[in-house]
Symmetry: C2
Subunit: 473 residues, 2 copies
Amino acid sequence: DRHGAAAGLTQGWHLSHTTRQNIRNSELAPLGMRAWQIKDELRQGARKPYKELIDVSSADPHRAGVKPLSFVRQVLAVCYYPQLAKSDKLPADVRQRAQRLLGTCAGGSAGSYCPAGGIPEIIDIVCEFISRRDDGVPSYPENIFITSGAQRAFVEILNILVNTLRSPITGVLTPCPSYPPGNMAVVMLGGAVVPYYLDEEQGWELKIDELHRALESAKGVCDPTVLYVINPGNPTGHVQSRKSIEEVIRFASEKRLFLMVDEVYQDSVFEQESRFVSYKKVLAEMGPPLSHTVEMASFHSVSKGFIGECGLRGGYVELVNVDPSVMRNLYTLMSRDASTTTGQLALDLMINPPQPGDPSYPLTAITLHISDLRVLEVLNSLPGISCQPVKGGGYALPRLHLPPGAIQKAKEVGMLPDYFYCSRLLEETELCVGAGSENGQRESTYHIRYRQSSDEVLRRLTSFHIQFMKDFS
Amino acid sequence: DRHGAAAGLTQGWHLSHTTRQNIRNSELAPLGMRAWQIKDELRQGARKPYKELIDVSSADPHRAGVKPLSFVRQVLAVCYYPQLAKSDKLPADVRQRAQRLLGTCAGGSAGSYCPAGGIPEIIDIVCEFISRRDDGVPSYPENIFITSGAQRAFVEILNILVNTLRSPITGVLTPCPSYPPGNMAVVMLGGAVVPYYLDEEQGWELKIDELHRALESAKGVCDPTVLYVINPGNPTGHVQSRKSIEEVIRFASEKRLFLMVDEVYQDSVFEQESRFVSYKKVLAEMGPPLSHTVEMASFHSVSKGFIGECGLRGGYVELVNVDPSVMRNLYTLMSRDASTTTGQLALDLMINPPQPGDPSYPLTAITLHISDLRVLEVLNSLPGISCQPVKGGGYALPRLHLPPGAIQKAKEVGMLPDYFYCSRLLEETELCVGAGSENGQRESTYHIRYRQSSDEVLRRLTSFHIQFMKDFS
Ligand SMILES: Cc1ncc(COP(=O)(O)O)c(C=O)c1O
Ligand SMILES: Cc1ncc(COP(=O)(O)O)c(C=O)c1O
């Protein structure tokens, strides 16, 4: 059943929300909850093979133990406690930046309310960033909303696109594997998820034929009016080429689909050959009539990129070619968003990192290269595991070729095979990775999802995996 | 027309959202927008009677120029930049507090995602606070949601109470004068505002007879199922007695109304004779059957109280006697809320201020007493102005007895009379106060709303007012 993924999610949603404990942890996968417990057990002195739990199942770098950037934290600290700027212990660029940012706040304080929709100066800064990024394609303040994170913006935009009063209900073409809260939002708002499968063998490429197939399959079930794309891919790590983006835009235009483009990983492209190109730039360069007609929303977030501050809740959405009447509804919806002052200020920090010559520049160099080629080599050399190149994004998504014995055993204990693997890995090595079934995957394929953060991850994974394969073959 | 207030709000809502500039400033009243401009004009060297604009129209203390508390800001600064704790320049209690709070965050970082619904430790801290406040009446973690501010929580709760599919639509009994975003939320969600008038002559007391009248007046128009109460009052500054609260609870029970109790000003009671008593405590002490049946939601926020941090977006809602099926819906809705980590940590700071003996205690003493008796004396000694005692809350709401000439002039220039007064005040003295018409007021009565913050406010107001009364009589 094509709508299995959506149905599964709906069910999962209700099930996992019947108890309070689950709710509290609803942003964690079930494995994440167990990881949380193990951490407690370790703290209380339980004896386990490893002394420290490593949780790389989520895209949250700080949860995984990555240290935040001092530049970012220093500026935020001064914004909260401006007296710190008096000491010359903090770099000059930190103090100047904080002063400039405080100037955008009402009463010069990070503790005052922000105008709904965003601080005007920050909106202007976002526009400058976008047109710089897109080699001059203009960006207009009236098309930008600053929000408390990309996820929130996504929900508000979907809110006006999903029509539950009409029959059949609105369908949203959604990648598989996907970012689960995206699917969740569609289902919660009363829409239907129509999965299109990314082509794993081709490095998780998005194929237009598959979009056609997915659209066709929705006939009689729902009315697809939205196409959700994640580029760079999460959790798949692919990066779309300009040509691929052009194809998607043409498809959206032909089928009159609203493009929801999740570009939160735009600053996270690691592979030498790949480059992030925005949908907006490609659309603009395709010229009329497409450049004036294809409706689009693009998302970005301070949870990602070199800053990785998930707890601040800051992001923006830019809208392109959206009908003025729809924009008016959006204004109303967006003004309900309670965006924090520091979340907004952090957008400036993400967009304008220290430059060469600035005192804070040397410390701001990006330290994390998930696509470390050596990692791929190690993974691909193991029996029963294969991994596509990770060109960008936050994760690696290796495929597990599980022996029939392991699949049988999983059935017996009532778990999905990949979840069974992850659960054993967690119990035996205190390493928490995510199960591919949470993101969706082609039937009878199994994956694990993890955020590469240290060699130790690879060591634990390797030793567990070899033993696991032995046990079940 | 009884529903004039709601209709007016709806209209105002759409009007003020047709242009982008208005949206951006939608949390500001129109006067607030003009104040923003004047500030700019002053910065660019415009010659005006006073060199500095004072904006006391909003409840945002930092916008009005109040300095934030160092204790709060120091702890937040350390949370963002833990290295600061190494210096012994910061007080020991600041460093200890920050360390404890960081211990509640995933990965020990304020930059990691929070569990939806709230950080469990912070929820427990909120429960302890509530039962301490209520002399031992218990509070349960499963009834608390941490949210990105009280306003957000209010919208989410209303979301499940307002039924737009049924006819007649849901009515919400709402105080008049009121907190405008509350009314806005009702209208936006498709409900109807049913105003009940507070009794100005009796110090803005809530009278049960008036609740009966309002309920009666809704017949045939809407189906009132919710009663919204603000105690301590905003912008009215009244504080309900235990007896008054008991009456309201009995009324709610009799009429089967869900009680939305906005208690964000619970720490802001200034008058010697008055004391804040929570609805939850009174309900518990009334005993069964009421204590087990009356459904209630109570709100609190870090935007208020001694902390006054509006930009952090932190608050909580506690639910009482809510049906498990409704709670399940709420879990789902609340998990959409994107609450920031620091907003949650700030709740602890609000709830557990430094105690006598702590290094930060002396600086944390409350400096702001809006109900300064001298202020009332001055106001009440002026011709054409009268002000009820301000017992708590964030505002004073003096009544203007405008001469017919002023009302006539306002009509000519197409302004509401109180708005006309405020607009002249702003242009002539760079003092921005709010117009009572924004909060709602009985027909043919006029008020101004302002947050007392300095003697300078009173000086500008006095000199303007005397001249204004002369000009129009
Ligand atoms: C693809 C994708 N979109 C959106 C988000 C959410 O971003 P935010 O934290 O700004 O809500 C994430 C976070 O993991 C993500 O991976
Ligand atoms: C009565 C009342 N309720 C709620 C709020 C909103 O609080 P928050 O900033 O937490 O959304 C305010 C703010 O002014 C208020 O006065």
